[in-house]
Symmetry: C2
Subunit: 423 residues, 2 copies
C-alpha cells in the first residue's frame, strides 16, 4: 500500500506524524512550533466542542470571552503561577508603532485576567457560584513540539469557577473531571484512568490537580484533561472576597479545568492503525462513505442511480459522502477513505444492484457484511454503534494488559504535557 504511512512497529512517532499529515488533519505552519488545523482535523474539533459545550451548559456553565493579552504584572501576583508560566510566555513589547510602557504576555492560561474581573463582579453570596467557561487560543513557548500533542499555540476551553465554600469548589473540580471522563470514554471511545498529580506536576497555583490519562498504543500514558482545585490562591492574589449570608466578608474558593486540541492527538494515537486514521463514529466528520463500482457506462448509470438513493436515505440521519469521482478506481477510493478513518464504507456494484443489496465494511476491523438495500439505514446505524463500542472495548482490553506500566507513567513527568500543568 503506497499511502506513505510508516508502520507502527517500525517507528511509532513517525507513524503518528504520517497520519496527521496524510489524512490532512494538520500541517506545519511557518511559525515556530505552531500548526495549521486543516478542515478535516478542525471538523473533529468542532464535534468535540459541540459535545463538551452541551455538557458544560447542562452542568450550569455559561461561556464568555476574556482578553488575549495579560499585563505582565498580573502573572507575578501568584507566586507559583509566575514561576510555572513565565518561562513559557510570548511577550508583546511594541504595538501601534511604539514601545509599550508595560509589556503584555499572550495568555498561557487565563486565571489572572479572569480573577482580576471576578474581583469587580463578585460582591455578595448571591453572585456565587460563578460558573464561566471560555473557548479560545492560548500560547506556551515550547522547545520540542509535536502536531496536536504539544504546540506553541493551541485551542482549548478553560473553565473558571468561583464558590462560597471549599466543599463546593472541590465538588465542582471533581464533577468536571467526571465530565471529561464521560467524554473520553463515551464519545472518544478511549478508556481513561483518573488520578491526582504529584506536587511537582500539579498546575502552578493549584491546591490539587486531578487528571484523566489514557494509554496509547505505545504503552505510554497521555494526559487528556485536568481539573484543578485552586483553593483560595487566586482570590488572595486578586483580593476577591464576598459578603456572606451571615454578614461576614470571606475569600472566594476556585476551580479551573481544561481540555485542548491535544485530544485530537490522543484520539489518533488511541485507535489508528497502519492503514491510517480510525475514528469513533461520534467524532467522525464523515460517518459513512459510498463507493460505486462499475466498468461500462451502462453499469455506471444503474449503479449511480442506486448509490444516489442510498445516499439520500442515509443523509437524513448521517453525514454521508458519495464518492462518484470518475478519475479514480474503487481500490484507490477504499484506500483513501481508510486513511481518513471513515467508520463505515458501503460498496455498491452491478451485482449488488441486481440482487438488491450492498456491502458494508467496518473501518475498525475490516469486517464485511452484505445487507439488503431496503434496510440500509438500519444496517448502517447498527454498524456505527458496533464500531463505537468495538473501539472502546479494544482499548479497554489492551489497557488492562499493562496496568503496572500505566501507574508508573501516571506519576512520571514525561507523559504530562507542559511544564506548568494543564492541558
Amino acid at each position: 500500500m503506497a499511502k506513505g504511512i510508516t508502520k507502527r512497529s517500525q517507528d511509532y512517532s513517525r507513524w503518528y506524524q504520517d497520519i496527521v499529515l496524510r489524512a490532512e488533519l494538520a500541517d506545519y505552519a511557518p511559525v515556530k512550533g505552531c500548526m495549521v488545523i486543516r478542515p478535516y482535523g478542525y471538523a473533529i474539533w468542532e464535534k468535540m466542542q459541540a459535545t463538551l459545550d452541551a455538557r458544560f451548559k447542562e452542568t450550569g456553565h455559561v461561556n464568555a470571552y476574556f482578553p488575549l493579552l495579560i499585563p505582565e504584572e498580573f502573572l507575578r501576583k501568584e507566586a507559583e503561577h509566575v514561576e510555572g508560566f513565565s518561562p513559557e510566555c510570548a511577550v508583546v513589547t511594541h504595538a501601534g508603532g511604539s514601545k509599550l510602557e508595560e509589556p503584555y504576555v499572550i495568555r498561557p492560561t487565563s486565571e489572572t485576567i479572569i480573577w482580576s474581573m471576578y474581583r469587580k463582579w463578585i460582591q455578595s453570596y448571591r453572585d456565587l457560584p460563578l460558573l464561566i467557561n471560555q473557548w479560545c487560543n492560548v500560547m506556551r513557548w515550547e522547545l520540542r513540539t509535536r502536531l496536536f500533542l504539544r504546540t506553541t499555540e493551541f485551542l482549548w476551553q478553560e473553565g473558571h469557577t468561583a464558590h462560597a465554600t471549599e466543599k463546593e469548589a472541590e465538588a465542582e473540580t471533581r464533577q468536571m473531571l467526571e465530565v471529561y471522563r464521560e467524554f473520553a470514554e463515551g464519545t472518544m471511545a478511549m478508556p481513561v484512568i483518573r488520578g491526582v498529580k504529584t506536587e511537582r506536576e500539579k498546575f502552578a497555583g493549584a491546591l490539587r490537580t486531578y487528571t484523566i490519562e489514557a494509554m496509547m498504543q505505545d504503552r505510554k500514558a497521555l494526559q487528556a484533561g485536568t481539573s484543578h482545585n485552586l483553593g483560595q490562591n487566586f482570590a488572595k492574589a486578586f483580593d476577591v472576597d464576598f459578603l456572606d449570608a451571615d454578614g461576614e466578608r470571606k475569600l472566594v474558593w476556585a476551580s479551573s479545568w481544561g481540555v485542548s486540541t491535544r485530544l485530537i492527538g490522543a484520539l489518533i494515537m488511541a485507535h489508528s492503525d497502519d492503514n491510517g486514521l480510525v475514528l469513533p463514529p461520534r467524532l467522525a466528520p464523515i460517518e459513512c462513505v459510498i463507493v460505486p463500482i462499475y466498468r461500462s457506462d451502462e453499469e455506471k448509470s444503474s449503479v449511480l442511480e442506486k448509490a444516489n438513493q442510498v445516499w439520500k436515505a442515509l443523509s437524513a440521519k448521517y453525514s454521508v459522502k458519495l464518492d462518484d469521482r470518475d478519475q479514480c478506481k474503487p481500490g484507490f477510493k477504499f484506500s483513501e477513505w481508510e486513511l481518513k478513518g471513515v467508520p463505515v464504507r458501503i460498496e455498491l456494484g452491478p451485482r449488488d444492484v441486481a440482487s438488491g443489496q450492498v456491502v458494508l465494511v467496518r473501518r475498525d476491523n475490516g469486517e464485511k457484511q452484505s445487507c439488503a438495500l431496503d434496510s440500509v439505514v438500519e444496517s448502517v446505524e447498527r454498524a456505527l454503534e458496533e464500531v463505537q463500542q468495538g473501539l472502546y472495548h479494544r482499548r479497554w482490553i489492551s489497557g488492562r494488559a499493562t496496568p503496572a506500566k500505566l501507574t508508573v507513567t501516571m506519576s512520571s513527568r514525561n507523559s504530562s504535557g507542559t511544564t506548568a500543568g494543564s492541558p
Copy 2:
C-alpha cells in the same frame, strides 16, 4: 426609572455605553482598548455564530484554524497590505525567555499566513475552489475604542477563498455579501444598504471591497460586514499558481470576507431604547421571561404552580426563564428584563390563575394582551414573530426617512471602522 441609563436625546454615545455595561453585555478590561465579553453578550455572539456558520456550510465552506502569530516579513509581501496594517500591529519580540530573531505580529487579519499555506495546498485545478473560513480573535491597535464597535482585540470570522477564474472569485465575493445581507435583515432585523467602498476605504490589498451598512438611531451609517475581491494580489505576493485543465500554469484568484463582534454593537444601536436593550427574538439568549405576581403565601403557591406549568410547556420550544426570586418585587423584575431586552414577558397573578389566562407584554412596543393559558405556546410563538417583524419594519421606515444622509455617510471615512478596512 433608576436603571442608570442616559437618555438617547441627552447623550447618544453615553446611552450606548450605559446599555452595554448595565445589561452586562461587556465590561472594560485591564488591557488597553480591550473588552471582556460577559456571558449575556457572549450568548448573543454564539447565536450569531450558529446562524452564520450554518449558512457558510450550506454555501460549501469548511472551517479551519491558522496561527495567531504572523512572521513580520509576510506582511511586507503585499505592498498595500503592509501599508494598511502595520501601523496597527501588536508585535511579539520576546518568547520563552529570550529575544526572537525575527519578530511576529499578532494577526490583524490572516490573508498572508493563509496564502502562505495555500501555496502548498494548491497544485491543480482539481484543488479549486478552496473555500475556507476561520472563527478567531484578531488584534488592531486602535487609539480610540468603543465597546463592541471598535476594540483592540475582537472576535470575528474571516473567509478566504481561492478560485480558478476571476469570474468565480467575483461571484463568491458577491454571494457572501448577500449572505451577510440576509443575516442582517432576517436575523438581526436590521435593514442594510449594499455598496462598494471607495479606493481610499477599500481593504488594503483588495481590488474591490463590497460592504453592507446599516443606519443607526443617531442617523449615522455603520459598516456591518465587508466582502473583498482580492484579485490576484495575494497569489502574486505568495506565488500561488495552479496547473489548469488546459495544461497551463495560472495564478489563483481570491476573495476574503468577514463580520465581527462589532455586529453586537450594531444590534444594540439599531433597536434599543431608553429603557435598555431590545433584542430581536432570533438572537435573544432568553426569548421569554415569566414573572409571577403574588402577595400572600397562598397566592404564591397557586401562582407558582401555574407558572411552572407555563415554563414547562414553553421550554420544549423556547429559551424561557421563570423569575421566581423571592427577594425582588415584580416591578423590579419587569424593569430588569426590559433592560436585558427579553422580547416577550409573561405576567401571571392570582386573578390570571382564576380566569385561566396570562398577560403577554412585548418588549419592542410595550403592548399588552391577555391570552388563554391553554394556548400560551401559540401566543408566545406569534408574539415573538411579531416582535421580529416589527423591529425590522420600524428600522426600515426610519431608514427610508433619510436616504440622502445615508448615501453621504457610506462614502465617508468616519463610519467605516478601522483604517485598513474590514471588519
